[in-house]
């Protein structure tokens, strides 16, 4: 079935494919990011490309947009061979791209951002006026409502994304690539985006949707291609497939998405939060009135779309930022805005923290592994005496950790950045667990981590829980939350929508709460 589309012959007249890629290869140093990739995208369809983090989707799209040149292989647009040396070549042939991280100048107006690079004449004034007329037309055709005179950085992400789409259309894009467009959106914004995409499709625009979310593929695409470890492993019509089959193709074996672990033996309260709130520098309340208990021997999962207050919660509980309001208590110690808390103090109280961003926070990338593995713990007496550190002792410690966590390569002096994502995460986890914490805060433990390591990390967390550790797990992967947690706390816009036990909930109900419907209402709607 998957070969069917590939085998369609390229006829003599107009090609049925808006874009075809033939045997594309691209390596970064020793890493093969794209290996003999073939892809045909039919004109006027929405074509999904799905795969795990690091499967090579973004690299492939960057090649199609002219950001990178392939090491070998051919690109055809509308049946004609094309060579893209830089993005402008792709733009000229009607290819537009909405990047995962927006390519917008923060202090420019929407209009300035849209015309940047295709302004027309030397003087700016005319270009701006002409563009405005053309954009009004585009806006009404596709339902892309944007106030063109607003400064971009003040606009919500959903609107910024529309600016990106308008930017591509303004350049005459007939093929639109969207790279993980929903990662930063609320469910409502996602729905609006999908409406826009359907409107674009009805006007004949071909859309390439890159994602790692199965339900989005099922919801909106006509055809789907699956990538795994740099290879294209499947091409098929969406209606002929199922999420299960796609998931299997993504990871290369039947999936453990549904692995459910037994519930743990819950003990006494280890940490209790009472009305914690955080007001950020811009005066925005990013965390509001967070109240909950975390007990030893349980995993409390925090579900929610990225950027809904989870990071702030972790930041407060780990002692990095003091809460603006409310307090939290560990043992008999109470911490609030006045009573100073610090990460060092938290560690002394038996609280460890696996941060969300292991590249920026969890590791010091240019450090050798043995140096990264004492980050925050360098004063531990077994690593030296007095003010001084003893590298030999630390190296031995690191070697032991690498051995027991199966970190490869087992080399304490290798630079941290040279480990793979999974092995980096194991280094961080091993460090935080080696202090035998009573409370463990974990943020996005498996982001960008290969399947083998995911399983190892999950089992390690369960083992910690069973030994009586209280674990707070923040993850944007709902599957992961459902698989590991005993109780689930859902956050939206900095507020807790409710706390449910795993046994009493469904994915649908969690989804509603993530979209901002409080628990009581979610239950009512269900009945």
């Amino acid at each position: 079935m998957k070969k069917k589309i590939l085998e369609q012959k390229n006829g003599g007249q107009k090609s049925p494919f808006a874009v075809s890629l033939k045997s594309i290869c691209k390596s970064f140093g020793p890493v093969r990011a794209n290996d003999e990739i073939c892809l045909n995208v039919s004109s006027g369809t929405i074509h999904g490309i799905i795969g795990e983090n690091g499967a090579g989707k973004s690299t492939l799209m960057s090649i199609l947009y002219g950001f990178y040149q392939p090491d070998s292989g051919d690109i055809q647009v509308d049946g004609k061979a094309a060579i893209f040396k830089q993005p402008s070549d792709a733009i000229r042939l009607g290819i537009g791209m909405v990047h995962q991280h927006f390519m917008l100048v923060p202090n420019f107006t929407a209009l300035e951002n849209i015309i940047l690079g295709s302004e027309g004449k030397m003087g700016l004034k005319n270009g701006l006026q002409n563009a405005k007329l053309k954009l009004e037309e585009l806006k009404s055709t596709y339902g892309l409502e944007v106030d063109l005179d607003n400064v971009t950085e003040d606009l919500p992400v959903g609107i910024q994304q529309r600016i990106e789409i308008l930017k591509a259309l303004y350049r005459g894009a007939r093929v639109l690539i969207l790279d993980e467009p929903t990662g930063v959106l609320t469910p409502q914004e996602t729905d609006q985006l999908f409406e826009i995409l359907l409107a674009l499709k009805s006007e004949g625009v071909t859309i390439l949707l890159i994602t790692h979310k199965l339900h989005e593929i099922m919801a909106i695409t006509d055809e789907v291609s699956v990538m795994r470890q740099g290879k294209m492993v499947a091409n098929t019509l969406t209606k002929k497939t199922s999420p299960e089959w796609l998931a299997e193709q993504m990871v290369g074996r039947s999936v453990l998405v549904n692995t459910k672990y037994e519930s743990g033996k819950v003990g006494s309260v280890a940490l209790s939060a009472d009305g914690i709130g955080v007001t950020d520098k811009r005066g925005f309340d990013s965390l509001k009135n967070a109240t909950f208990d975390l007990r030893s021997g349980e995993i409390l999962g925090i579900a929610g779309i990225a950027g809904n207050g989870q990071s702030e919660l972790l930041s407060v509980l780990s002692g990095i930022t003091p809460p603006s309001r409310g307090n939290f208590r560990i043992n008999d110690k109470i911490f609030d805005s006045k009573n100073h808390c610090s990460p060092g103090l938290m560690r002394e109280l038996g609280l460890s923290h696996v941060p969300e961003d292991r590249h920026a926070e969890g590791l010091v990338l240019p450090f050798q592994a043995f140096e990264s593995v004492i980050l925050g713990y360098e004063k531990n007496p077994s690593f030296g005496t007095g003010f001084f550190t003893k590298p030999e002792q630390i190296q031995a410690h690191c070697a032991r950790l690498q051995d027991s966590f199966d970190v490869r390569p087992q080399n304490p002096t290798l630079i941290s950045s040279q480990f793979s994502g999974g092995n980096q995460q194991k280094l961080v986890l091993s460090r935080e667990i080696s202090s035998a914490p009573k409370i463990l805060l974990v943020g996005q433990p498996t982001r960008g981590v290969d399947i083998g390591a995911i399983e190892f990390i999950h089992k390690t967390l369960i083992k910690m829980r069973d030994s009586g550790c209280a674990i707070l797990l923040v993850s944007v992967e709902l599957e992961e939350i459902l698989s590991l947690s005993d109780r689930i706390l859902v956050m939206n816009s900095g507020e807790i929508m409710g706390i449910v036990s795993k046994a009493n909930t469904t994915k649908a109900m969690l989804g509603k709460m993530m979209a901002g419907i409080p628990l009581e209402k979610a239950i009512e709607e269900k009945n």
Binding site: V31, E371, G376, P409
Partner: protein, 371 residues
């Protein structure tokens, strides 16, 4: 900072030497263009720096200055701070020595005054590093700009004081009166003379020993202490530092104070070792040379000792050029210094792609990084 995939010895030895040779090669071309023989110039410089009587002493005297300012720049670099304020910090260090020596000389025993004067230089330098550090950490001012401005401010203060309230009476030039007899660091030729050796007069003094001790202390600080660990972690990744609870702001301030103290101690060599009074412009650009020294020495005390020696030889040899040539003066040394900063600093990675091709074909990476 780019993570290099080259073997360690290439990174530490081959590249710095290659960069240095490129700089010297370009300098040679320029000498040839103005009609002199670069090899003759080189031999004159080498003789001046090492062979002539007292030459080595002068070379090591300059070396001492560069060790202090080089260490200052290097310590800051470990926290990813660019301290170009060495000139100002050294000038203030001189002021510190002057104030201690002039106010306490004659009141306290000589040795105590000397010790306090050395501390004074470190303290005044530290303050001149602390303020830009504080402004960077707490107010977000760019450290490069602030330290540049502080050089000028320090220079204005020195002019104001030395031509004003600190100016020696009955004196035309802006300088203080001489320190009390004995408030000075012994010079090596004196010490050796008393032991019966004659090495020729040179200003080389005990500061040289102090500089070497500072090298060891800096090595200890950066690679063997908690604070050094925190400084490096903060330099490489401020976010990781925050996560670990090190408070990057505090680390930045402390690092800049240490850096300033080291630069300030350069004044010990010039003021306490030679002049025995505070004069104007005694820093003569050594603070900037410290940047070249730190870059060449790869911010490691051992590398800094070698780089300082090189620059010491250049300065002393450069002085020799004045006598031997009509057309080449010690400004040649300034130019070479510029070239070294260009090739070992700004263009430090110029040869990397070439060398990577050369070395990585043989040594394939064993473990791919698939992140």
């Amino acid at each position: 900072m780019q993570a290099s995939r080259l073997p360690r010895y290439v990174d530490i030895c081959v590249i710095p030497i290659l960069n240095l040779l490129t700089a010297l090669f370009v300098a040679g071309i320029i000498i040839a263009i103005i009609g002199e023989n670069p090899f003759t110039a080189l031999s004159v410089m080498l003789k001046g720096a090492f062979v002539y009587k007292g030459g080595l002493g002068y070379t090591l005297f300059y070396t001492t200055n560069f060790i202090f300012t080089g260490l200052a720049v290097a310590v800051a670099f470990h926290a990813m701070l660019f301290n170009i304020g060495g000139e100002g910090q050294a000038a203030m260090g001189g002021l510190g020595i002057g104030l201690v020596a002039l106010s306490l000389g004659g009141i306290l025993p000589v040795l105590v005054v000397i010790a306090l004067a050395i501390l004074g230089s470190a303290l005044f330098g530290a303050i001149w590093g602390f303020i830009p550090g504080y402004l960077q950490a707490k107010r977000g001012s760019h450290i490069v700009i602030t330290t540049i401005m502080f050089n000028f401010i320090a220079s204005a203060i020195m002019v104001w004081l030395l031509a004003g309230m600190l100016m020696a009476p009955n004196q035309m030039s802006p300088e203080t009166i001489s320190f009390q007899n004995g408030v000075m660091l012994w010079q090596f030729h004196d010490i050796l003379n008393r032991l019966g050796f004659d090495i020729g007069r040179s200003p080389l003094n005990l500061s040289f020993v102090l500089a070497l001790i500072c090298c060891f202390l800096v090595w200890l600080l950066i690679w063997r202490t908690h604070l050094g660990y925190r400084i490096r972690a903060t330099g490489f990744s401020p976010k990781a530092s925050t996560y670990a609870g090190y408070q990057p702001e505090t680390i930045i301030i402390i690092t800049m104070a240490i850096s300033g103290a080291l630069a300030g101690m350069m004044a010990v060599n010039e003021i306490l070792g030679v002049q025995h009074r505070v004069i104007l412009n005694f820093t003569s650009g050594y603070g900037f040379t410290g940047i070249a020294v730190a870059l060449m020495g790869r911010n490691h005390p051992l590398g800094i000792i070698f780089a300082s020696l090189l620059f010491g030889a250049l300065f002393q040899g450069g002085a020799e050029l004045d006598f031997e040539f009509q057309t080449i003066t010690r400004d040649m040394v300034v130019m070479i210094q510029g070239l070294i900063i260009l090739f070992s600093g700004a263009l430090a990675y110029m040869f990397n792609p070439m060398l990577e091709k050369l070395f990585l074909n043989e040594e394939r990476l064993k473990e791919p990084n698939n992140d």
